[in-house]
Each structure stands twice: as structure tokens, then as C-alpha cells.
């Protein structure tokens, strides 16, 4: 073997890199089965009501159109495992953009023309799409997303706030945010001999397989879902999406393979999004900055068909010591698209509010914001009382402050000016929980000395394929080039979704155990028979509940320049330091941290989705109106990490890294804007129009 074994953590290049840079990596609608047809959704144009007629004659007359699926002729589904998949089953329109028909045609052009020719008539009712703090429909759910209790209380928050010498009482307002992965959601479906095969742009094809089996009343062995390459997801592809169901329906009805790729502008309604939140944070502290009370109350919205509650108050249960605490979530069901996961659901919006409030407290006290956080480090997890398996926040704050040269700052706001630019710096903490989901894997030794590991992991750009090879190679004591990795197919041993920053811990544990078992059997001697040797394992041990509070932590530092003439905010530099266990691939990990921070920059400064109350829909439907960061927005952006030796995680010692980069970034930037200008906006994004009136 010409290659050496490399320790875990080595900056191994992506296994599929060559395919991606040469354009040969195939995504979900880039498989071209013979006779394929193209499907195009017809979206509802009312926000609430029911379909009274779908007139398809004009569409069917378009040359190339094969059929139009409506609620009248679409295959009947069993009750899907997710209400957003119950498409074309009845006349109800729960929100604007809901699919009310699907045109199936020979070509993309005919499908588009056909969809434009479908005439849908509605009986519409008055819609209600605007979130308010005291909406009469507000209720307290049992749980928020992730299974967290909606309400947690310790001590007597009101009394402690009333008695505290210094308090902050601030309300932060965030609009909706959209994941917008570069690859729109897409599926290619075909049926053969009663077996459904779908190439799907998904973060977890085992999940999609199970959804389709349920919806179509099939055994799981009669459905195969493949997600070999996926053009990003950021949570929006973590659950099965309607295009997979519609493509399978259309393929069944026509007897031919069907492609559906969502047009970009249909995505805000159909693939989930981060729900708007209104967050009231109250902090009570002694004059030395030690917290006596933390109250974080969240109001958010869901749709009429599914309860999804953004768990924005949950990080306040983890972050800072305080004898009195209240963290609550309320939600109202509106005539809006169903929200879902977007990178760091809960933590990303929640830490914007909490970490902005901590900055407000630091300003009120005249204490350095880094020092204020250090003074409130808890000995145990504040909410649960459980010991931390490791807690690297203080280390990240110290290291980040050193690398950023934080203490050079003059704490006075609006004190630094360069011509028309006001300069400022800000900091914020980050946290994300350690999550593990059930997965299984196999490891195979071939007589030629090579190995194959199989697990239905998904590589959505994280580098999962690469790090799984590294984990297996480390357990087998072989160069990683000697390990073949098979992922992205639901016929493989079941893997969990690439979400919740849980992939490496979940799949990697199963792979480690399978590879270790294989190594043990090979060590028993006797050689490898012609059919090879295979070992299988799961991650039951790692997926079980832990007596420890397990979280990754981080600290962000940012410097901004604010144009006093235009109100534009430019990011001069951003630096993040993270403590996330052991980093298994320095190369791909750095890319993930920086990617998360970049999305956080978007959340802070450019990304905004506004609800149009008249039409009852998000107004920003495309990438010309929903502004994700571009190359010119990202200048000096650095990610660093502190290695942690935590034995309470998994065999690799890793915590998740996919989401923590976005957590706290927006607060650090908002705090820097406040330092630069003296202006605290308390809403995002901080666009010129929001800032200019105060400059």
C-alpha cells in the first residue's frame, strides 16, 4: 500500500471532489431514465379556502402535455407520516403555494406551458397570516421542536427581576428565513414490477423511503430512495418533501419515470423555513454582572396543518448560571406555509436574542461583554442540574479575544470613525447540543485486502463520505484510500438524517463499531475467504440518553464598518472559535464552520422575508429579493477550534459542527453595529433602511 494511515483529524480531501469540480457528480434530476416525463406543480393562489374546480382542458390541449393530476384523479394516499405530504387528496387550501395540480408533460417547456394553462377556481375565506405577540390564537404547546418542554421555570423570576439592581427588558423581532439550498428540491421517480425507485434531493433517504412506503401503502422493501449527491439542504431536505410524493404519484399514473424539480420561487411555500419569532428577554443582575434572573419568552407561528414550534428559548436553559429562570414558548396556527428546520432551529434565533440582551446588560453595567459572560459560567447545566460532559465556552472566549485582539477596543460606542465609516466590534457566544440518532452499518473485508463500509449516510456537502472513510480506516488500521464508502441509498443499512449536527456521531459510531468488530474477526486469523468477511453493528449505545449535559460551544467576534451616509453595514472581519469535541477532518470542518458563519452573516445583514398581509404570503420568493450573502460580502472570515478530550460522547470523541457556526453570529454582528453607531436595532436583518434614520 503506497498510502500511509492517517490519524483522525487529518485534512483529507473530499472523496467526491473530482466529480464535483468536473461536473460529473449527479444530482436528483440528472438521471435520465428512458421515456421520462417532467412534472410541474400548480400552486394555490389563495391563502385559505378550498378548490371548487380545476379546469384542465386548456392544459391538456398544450402539445406535449400527458396528463394533469388534481385532487379528483390523483392516486389516493394512506395518511402520510407528515401532513405536508397529503397533496392532491382533497380540496383544502391551507396556505398560498400549496399544490393544487400537477402537470405532466414530455418536456420542461410543455410542462410549464401546461401549468400556466390550468384554471383553478377557489372558494376563499379570509386569511390570517400575521404573527403578533398577543394574537388571540396563541397557545402554549406541550413541546417545542426537538421534544423540549415548552415551559421551564426555576425559582421566582418576577420577584428576582423586581429586586435586581440592574435589569434589561428587550424584545427582539425576527421575520421568516429561508434555507434556499442551491439545488432546488427535486425527485426522479419510477415504478418497475411494483417497486418504487426515487432519486431524491434529501438529507436522509431512509426517512424518505419510510414516508413513501407509508403514503403508498408499500412494504419498505418495495421502495428504494437514492440521494447520492445533494446540493445542500440546511434542514429543508431533512424531511420528505411533496415533490417526492408527487413524482411517485405521476409515475404510477403514467407508467413512466417522472422528474420534478421545484422552481426556486415555489420553495418558500413548500420546503419549510425558519418561522418568525418575537422574543422578550429579561435579565436581572447584580452590579458585578452576576445574573440573578433570566427570562426568555418566545412567540412564534405554525401552519394550520402541522405544529412546528421554533425552540428559541431552549439555549437559555444551557448558557448562563442564574438562580431564577423562566423559558417559555407560545405558538399560533396561521394560514401560512408550514415552518420546519433551518440550520440550528431554536439556537440560531434564540441566541440572537439572548446574546444581544447580554450585550445590552454589559453596556448597562459598563462591564466588558467577554468578561460578563465569563462571570456567569455555570458549574452544571442550569436547567437540568446535570454535569457538562465538557464545556468549552470560557476557553473559546479567551482564545477568540486573544486572536481577535478584542481588548484593544474602546468600549464607548460611536468612538471610532474613518471618514464616512463608523467602526465597531462585537462578540457573542454560541452553543449547539450533541445529538445522536439510531443508525446501523456494515464493514466488509475483501480477499484483496480492501474494505467496504456501508451505511445510509447522506453527504449534503458536509464531507460525510470522507469522514466515514476516515473513521473506518482508523478502526481498521488501514489507509483511508483502502476503504470504499457506500452511502446515499436506502437499501444500505439504515442511517439517520443529516441534520441536527448529528450525522458524524450517529453514522460514525455505527461505522466504528462495525469496523472494529471486523478488525477483531480478522485478527482471529484464518485469512479472508473468497466471499470476504462482513461485520455489522449499530449505535444503540451512543444513541441512548446520557447522564451528562452535552453541548458544543463557541465564541464569535466581529468588526463592522457602518456607512454614515447610506446606513450600509460592511463586515470587516469575523472570527469564530469553537469547542466541539475532537475535530475529525480539519479541512472539511473549517469549511463547515465558515459556511455556518456566512449564513449567520446573511441572517444579520441581508436575509429577510416579509409577510404580505394582503396576499397572505412571503413576499421574497426568489434570489433577487431574498438576499443570501455573496462573495463580496465575505472578506476576512476565520474559524478556529479548541480540541476537547471528552469521553462521554462517542468512540471518535466528536460533537457536531454543522450548525454551531450560525449560532450567535447575528448577535455578534448586531452588537458590533451597536458599538459602531450607538444604535440597537433589535430586529434583523440590519439593512440600510433600518439603520439610516438613527445615523
Amino acid at each position: 500500500m503506497s498510502h500511509a494511515t492517517q490519524p483522525l483529524g487529518a485534512p483529507v480531501a473530499r472523496r467526491e471532489g473530482r466529480e464535483k469540480v468536473t461536473g460529473t457528480a449527479r444530482y436528483a434530476v440528472e438521471y435520465h431514465p428512458a421515456g421520462r416525463l417532467h412534472g410541474r406543480i400548480v400552486p394555490a393562489t389563495v391563502a385559505r379556502g378550498r378548490v371548487t374546480a380545476v379546469r384542465t382542458a386548456d392544459a391538456l390541449a398544450v402539445p406535449g402535455v400527458h396528463t394533469v393530476l388534481t385532487h379528483e384523479n390523483a392516486p389516493r394516499l394512506r395518511e402520510p407520516d407528515d401532513p405536508v405530504l397529503a397533496v392532491l387528496q382533497n380540496t383544502r387550501v391551507p396556505h398560498r403555494g400549496w399544490p393544487v395540480a400537477l402537470v405532466v408533460a414530455d418536456s420542461l417547456e410543455a410542462a410549464r406551458a401546461g401549468a400556466a394553462a390550468v384554471r383553478v377556481e377557489y372558494e376563499s375565506a379570509g386569511h390570517d397570516t400575521v404573527l403578533t405577540w398577543d394574537h388571540p390564537g396563541m397557545y402554549t404547546p406541550e413541546q417545542a421542536n426537538g421534544g423540549y418542554p415548552a415551559v421551564r421555570e426555576r425559582g421566582d423570576v418576577e420577584a428576582a427581576l423586581a429586586a435586581a439592581p440592574v435589569t434589561v427588558d428587550a424584545t427582539y423581532t425576527l421575520g421568516g428565513l429561508h434555507n434556499h439550498p442551491m439545488e432546488p428540491h427535486a425527485s426522479t421517480a419510477r415504478w418497475a414490477d411494483g417497486h418504487l425507485t426515487v432519486h431524491d434531493s434529501s438529507q436522509g433517504s431512509t426517512t424518505v423511503r419510510d414516508s413513501l412506503a407509508q403514503a403508498f401503502g408499500l412494504g419498505r422493501d418495495r421502495v428504494t430512495v437514492v440521494s447520492e449527491h445533494v446540493g445542500g439542504g440546511f434542514g429543508s431536505k431533512g424531511t420528505t418533501r411533496p415533490q417526492a410524493v408527487l413524482a411517485a404519484m405521476a409515475a404510477r399514473l403514467t407508467g413512466r419515470p417522472v422528474h420534478i424539480a421545484l422552481p426556486r420561487r415555489y420553495m418558500p411555500a413548500l420546503v419549510g423555513h425558519r418561522a418568525p419569532t418575537i422574543q422578550r428577554v429579561r435579565l436581572g443582575a447584580d452590579r458585578d454582572g452576576v445574573l440573578r434572573a433570566v427570562s426568555h419568552e418566545v412567540a412564534t407561528q405554525t401552519s394550520r396543518i402541522k405544529e412546528f414550534v421554533e425552540q428559541a428559548a431552549v439555549p437559555a436553559r444551557v448558557m448562563y448560571a442564574s438562580p431564577h429562570s423562566r423559558t417559555t414558548h407560545r405558538v399560533v396556527a396561521l394560514d401560512v406555509p408550514t415552518p420546519s428546520w433551518m440550520r440550528a432551529p431554536g439556537e440560531a434565533p434564540g441566541m440572537y436574542a439572548l446574546e444581544s440582551a447580554m450585550d445590552e446588560l454589559a453596556c448597562a453595567l459598563g462591564i466588558d461583554p467577554v468578561e460578563l459572560r465569563l462571570r456567569n459560567e455555570p458549574a452544571v447545566e442550569p436547567d437540568s442540574g446535570r454535569p457538562f460532559s465538557s464545556r468549552g465556552l470560557a476557553g473559546c472566549l479567551h482564545e477568540g479575544a486573544r486572536l481577535f485582539r478584542w481588548y484593544d477596543r474602546d468600549p464607548q460606542p460611536a468612538a471610532r470613525q474613518e471618514g464616512r465609516w463608523l467602526l465597531g466590534t462585537g462578540t457573542a457566544s454560541a452553543t449547539y447540543p450533541v445529538l445522536v440518532s439510531p443508525s446501523a452499518a456494515s464493514a466488509h473485508a475483501a480477499p484483496d485486502g480492501s474494505y467496504t463500509v456501508r451505511v445510509n449516510a447522506t453527504d449534503i456537502g458536509t464531507g460525510a463520505r470522507t469522514v466515514i472513510g476516515q473513521i473506518a480506516a482508523a478502526a481498521l488500521g488501514t489507509p483511508q484510500e483502502n476503504v470504499r464508502v457506500e452511502i446515499g441509498d436506502s437499501d444500505l443499512p439504515p442511517g439517520s438524517v443529516a441534520g441536527g449536527s448529528s450525522g458524524t456521531a450517529s453514522w460514525g459510531s455505527a461505522v466504528h463499531h462495525a469496523a472494529t468488530a471486523l478488525a477483531r474477526r480478522l485478527a482471529e486469523g484464518g485469512g479472508v475467504p473468497p466471499e470476504g468477511v462482513t461485520a455489522t453493528a449499530d449505535n444503540e449505545k451512543e444513541a441512548a440518553a446520557s447522564p451528562f449535559a452535552r453541548h458544543a460551544f463557541g465564541a464569535h467576534f466581529a468588526e463592522v464598518a457602518v456607512d454614515t451616509l447610506t446606513g450600509e453595514v460592511r463586515v470587516r472581519r469575523m472570527l469564530g472559535v469553537f469547542a466541539a469535541g475532537r475535530i475529525l477532518n480539519a479541512r472539511t470542518a473549517r469549511s463547515q464552520f465558515i459556511g455556518g458563519m456566512t449564513m449567520g452573516l446573511g441572517m444579520a445583514l441581508t436575509e429577510g422575508s416579509t409577510m404580505d398581509p394582503l396576499f397572505g404570503d412571503y413576499a421574497e420568493h426568489d434570489l433577487a429579493s431574498y438576499h443570501i450573502p455573496v462573495c463580496a460580502d465575505v472578506t476576512d472570515l476565520q474559524a478556529h477550534w479548541i480540541d476537547e478530550d471528552d469521553h462521554h460522547l462517542n468512540p471518535m470523541g466528536s460533537k457536531g459542527i454543522g450548525e454551531i457556526g450560525i449560532v450567535g453570529t447575528a448577535a455578534a454582528l448586531g452588537n458590533a453595529v451597536r458599538h459602531a453607531t450607538g444604535v440597537r436595532t433589535r430586529s434583523l436583518p440590519i439593512t440600510p433602511d433600518t439603520l439610516l434614520p438613527y445615523l
Binding site: 480531501a13 457528480a25 418536456s107 446540493g231 445542500g232 463580496a632
Partner: protein
Amino acid sequence: MDTIAWTDDTDAAQPPPFGDHSTLTLHVNGSDRKLTLDHRTTLLDALREHLGLTGAKKGCDHGQCGACTVLVDGRRANSCLLLAVAQDGRRVTTIEGLADGDRPHPLQEAFLERDAFQCGYCTPGQICSALGMLGEAEDGFPSYVTAPDTAAADGPVPLDAEEIRERMSGNLCRCGAYPRIVEAIEDVTP
């Protein structure tokens, strides 16, 4: 894995010419490709659906993301905004046409070396855009950040990181690989 045997109908017979179809020739990656296409077919869909060249990606279909960037007669273009029928006789270079045999283009190597991508969906467009951008700078095209005296000079515009960032801002990357993309392009900048 070979669990599914997809057949490829890329070379299937083209639809018969109607009044709304035309026959045209595109010179794609050095080969002449004669096609009969619906007049509504974009260059992007011609490449992806009719020529089996799926390297150029459809990210928005509205010229807002750059994932579909190819070179047309040597200049970068959003292929989703071009009707194929209007490109008759033009030279089109896609990501599949950049390598020299088995040897990837230096930009492709630089993107690999710098880990200048994650999900890979914007990557072909980024690389084609970078190639076109290098040609524009070589030919003296100024950008928004080019100093006026530089633009006045009749020669190549020197590319620093700021120039590259500005000139590459039509190619969106949601994974946030921008710093590595700029480094990769700097690696091949003369």
C-alpha cells in the same frame, strides 16, 4: 452501487420539426452538436436535457444565482437566460469541456486543493465563471472596484482578492465557500 440500471435516452431521436421548433448547431466543448429544439428551450435545458451535459446546474432559472454559468464564444453567460435557438453556430464551453483529457483544468485543481466547495451544486458555475472572469480581466474589463486609473490603462486589470470577490459575486454559494473560492482563483491568477 449498481442497484439501479438507468438507461440514458440522451441520444434518442429528436422530436420532429414543427413551426415552433428549429434545427441548429452548437459547438459544444469542441464538438458540433446538431439539435432540433423547441424555441422555448434555454441553452441550459438544451445542455442538460438534450445533450446529457448536466454539469451546468439549474439553481434559479432566472439568472439570479449563476449556477448555470457556461462560456459562450469565450465569455461567461447565464445559460438559463439564453434561448438555445438564438445560439446557433456559437461555441459553448461547459464544465465538462475544461479538462485536458484526464488532466483537470488548473482552476478545477485549485478548487479541489482549497476545498472551495461543499455540496458542489454551484461549483461548475463558479469554475466557469472564474475562467470567464480571468479572460475579462486579461482583456482590461474594469469592475465596480477597479480604480479609474487602472481601467484607463490599455491592458490587463490586476486581480487582487477584492477584485475577485466583486467579479465573482454573481455566483451564489449557500454553503459559504467564498473565502476558499477566492483563494483558489488567486492560485491561478497570473
